[in-house]
């Protein structure tokens, strides 16, 4: 949906605070291009989760401009942001990404269902799982029978099934060991590239920066955190 060199994220003069609290975020400018792979490094309390929640359309923006995929999130209603997220943004959490009592296949189909897609996704799902080096037999397993590493990779498949223009990953490797982390990031970058998705990857672990096109430190863009 975005043209070449269009920005996927464009933030101008964003200020954000939780009710009855001081500002959590104060970002003058942030831009992410289409297909760009961005690493955001920040310690806890740096406002990185708040930023992701704004980019996902979960938190409403009251001050400043946040354009995601060319849509002015600061001007849209919650339900409009919900449907943009369903269709065009894939999200991977730290852990517990999957509904435990559904099979892997059903978990991924869920994302297709809420995006309003009526396509039969099973072949897409199988090839996506294959790209993520997950065995085909995993499809019919219940999500809670998988290892944490497998669950995280299924979460990638879930996030990518709608070929979103933007993928947001919030500390997705914090529950993984070093070798699983490497496998995870490699797989994530590969499928994002295949789907032409931009990626915003947030972590406290600065050592991961080398995998990405661009590395941003929260403290350098968030003036509030800088002041602390």
């Amino acid at each position: 949906m975005t043209k070449k060199n269009d920005s996927v994220i464009e933030i101008n003069d964003l200020r954000f605070n939780y009710p009855n609290q001081a500002d959590t975020l104060n970002i003058k400018r942030l831009q992410v291009e289409a297909r760009q792979k961005v690493f955001v490094q920040g310690n806890s309390g740096s406002g990185k989760s708040t930023l992701l929640n704004i980019l996902c359309g979960v938190h409403a923006v009251k001050s400043g401009e946040v354009n995601v995929l060319g849509k002015p999130f600061h001007a849209l209603r919650a339900s409009q942001r919900d449907s943009i997220r369903a269709k065009h943004i894939g999200v991977v959490f730290q852990q517990f990404n999957l509904i435990p009592y559904l099979s892997v296949m059903e978990n991924i189909q869920l994302a297709g269902y809420f995006s309003g897609s009526s396509r039969q996704l099973s072949t897409d799902i199988v090839s996506l799982l294959n790209d993520l080096t997950l065995p085909r037999t995993i499809c019919d397993k219940r999500a809670d029978q998988l290892s944490v590493g497998q669950q995280q990779r299924v979460a990638i498949a879930r996030a990518l099934i709608n070929k979103p223009a933007l993928v947001i990953a919030d500390e997705p490797t914090s529950a993984l060991d070093a070798s699983a982390t490497n496998d995870f990031i490699t797989a994530l970058l590969k499928v994002c590239a295949a789907a032409n998705s931009a990626l915003v990857f947030v972590s406290h672990d600065a050592a991961l920066a080398g995998y990405f096109d661009l590395s941003i430190e929260m403290s350098s863009i968030n003036e509030v955190a800088y002041a602390i």
């Binding site: 989760s49 992701l52 996902c56 919900d82 449907s83 997220r85 269709k87 009592y101 809420f114």
Partner: protein, 401 residues
Amino acid sequence: MLSKLAVKSLLNRKVSAFLTLISLTVSVFLLVSVEHARTQTKESFNRTVSGVDMIVGARTSSLNLLLHSVFRIGNPSNTVSWESLEMVQSHPQVSWVIPISLGDSHRGFAVLGTNEDYFKYYQYGNQQPLKTREAHTLSDTVFAQPLTSIVGSDVAKQLGYQVGDEITLSHGTGNISFTHHDDHKFTIAAILQKTGTPIDKTVHISMRDLAHIHGQESLPDKEKKVTAFLVGLNSPIAVLQLQYLVNQYQTEALSAIVPGVALAELWNLIGTVEKVLLLITVLVLISSMLGLAIMLLSSMRERAQEMKILRVVGAKPITLFFLLQLESLVLAILGAGLGVFVSMSFFMMFNSFLSEQYGIFVSANVFNLSTLNILLAVLTATFLVSFIPAMSAYRSNSALS
């Protein structure tokens, strides 16, 4: 997809969902059964006697007279002399008088001594006359042959009788009697159509034969006794006048009742009990509804992550609201279905017991308008009570941590 999600989520919480389902089933069963038994009892009583304007028996309460003469419940207080019967019969407004004499039995079924007029005038249900199983009306000469009997459909069915079979009567009522009228074998001349009234469980014989087997056939009319008699009038307007006349009769202490009035009295008496029963049933339903809400609400804590995932893949708050409503709807529909099923099975098992012991005929078919209303009420209540957990799902926070 959403219904699949709801069902799988319930299956994931098998034990609590199952217990909630049982509680819903029990309450629907109670509600449907109580309401069904209530309306059917009323209908069963109301259909038993029709076309009879007045019942006259020895002085007793109107309910007692009604219950023993028509429903075979309880005992008569005394007998009525033939003279009193003739006194009533001689009244210009009286069209017909049918004597009935109870007291003997055949293998637990009541024996009723009467005359041919019984089959001519007695009506049940919506003014339906008594007919044989082959749908013939009974002739005026049905008792012309001595020792003839006409049996109700349940008597024939349960004891496997056919027309032409011979039966022996016992003295006194009850299943076991030590005095049998062994030397008098009655022949079954006809089997009556099913009526859904105590007639189905009655063996009818003539007054003459009844006197004969008790060795009283040579008694003059003066000394003949009957249990009660049914009266038909030329004009229903005369009923109050005649009732007064009978109740004031000096020679013998009598009671005259109008079946409809006596039944209304009965409903008045039962009405309070009915209401209490219904109230208890509704309370049971409310408590199981609360159980459902509590089950869903307490599951919301463990499902916070699940709600968050659903929100993040794009489910709107209203979708989560409906997901929770769908889960309780699935339980409510299953509970309603099971409750109705259990209720039907219950009546199927116990309706013969009810009709034998209490003369109440309750059909096992519970599908009627009031059941439908109950089910709709249950579903509405489910929706309302599920508002609490559903709102909790609606407000679930999808924020990343």
